[in-house]
Symmetry: C2
DNA sequence: TTTAATTCCTACTATTTTAGTATGATTTAA
DNA sequence: TTAAATCATACTAAAATAGTAGGAATTAAA
């Protein structure tokens, strides 16, 4: 599955942004210090978050990033898919020779991975950024 | 998350084994051909499956592997954890400096990953090997 | 008794992905 | 003018993944 520290960093950074959202633009330097993530790495991550319109940037001194939409509206799935390209576990389709395109026992496990994907995506769809910052207790929906 | 082609191969191979379980030991050569997985790689995978008592081996000519227990009793989680060591996404605990051990905003995302793990594991706990071979339609439990 | 088919064992290696560095340009508040 | 910030791109180190390679041991069958 595509779920790496990059995705985790993105979620952490967005949560940080949400926590400080009333104090104007938050610089990546601040986030870097608070969350202990390399500044240059954060920059790369935020380019992607910006491209997906999850944050907007304020350039120049005293600049930084602010949430484009409110924490209640931002799903974790939005964040992760923004930086990790795809939330897909292991689909047979990619590798045409193996798995699915196999003649004899054609993709016995195909549906399994499909459903797993749905299952995981479903989880990330339900959790909002707000759920993280509010109480640090997520949900029992 | 620890969920790689090794895990997928293992599930595919086990499903293959389940399909042919009435025809005596199934050789890895056969599985290799049917599922298009390198023989040597399968060998490594089956050592692990054997260590976890999911299969047993029959050595020598006409040998191969057979399921140690019935497909109804084998959970997908058993298979994956046998070959991929751990079904854990991204826990903060591992990396002591980052994430959790951060003073200011202590592990905002900790619970999120914990619950994700539970969610995924829960999925794999519910699906049995039998569910794969029976109808190629998994479940709606 | 020989042969071929098989598992078993261990070490090595190529490839890919991940995570991160490095460098510098651009923008803008103070 | 300066310092603090984003923006952009290229490079690289480390780790994980996905295999390969080479042989030893076992056993059914010819």
């Amino acid at each position: 599955m595509k779920l790496t520290t990059k995705g985790r960093y993105a979620v952490m950074a967005m949560a940080d942004l949400a926590l400080f959202k009333d104090k104007g633009p938050t610089s990546l330097t601040d986030i870097s210090l608070r969350q202990n993530i390399s500044l240059a790495y954060l920059e790369q991550i935020f380019i992607k978050l910006k491209n997906k319109n999850l944050v907007k940037s304020v350039r120049g001194a005293k600049g930084g990033y602010v949430l484009e939409i409110s924490p209640e509206e931002i799903k974790i799935s939005n964040i992760i898919s923004a930086v990790d390209e795809e939330v897909k576990t292991l689909n047979c389709k990619k590798e045409s020779k193996k798995g699915c395109n196999n003649k004899s026992s054609k993709c016995i496990t195909h549906n399994l991975w499909d459903q797993l994907d749905q299952h995981i995506n479903n989880f990330f769809e339900k959790v909002k950024l707000q759920d993280l910052v509010k109480k640090n207790q997520i949900f029992n929906k």
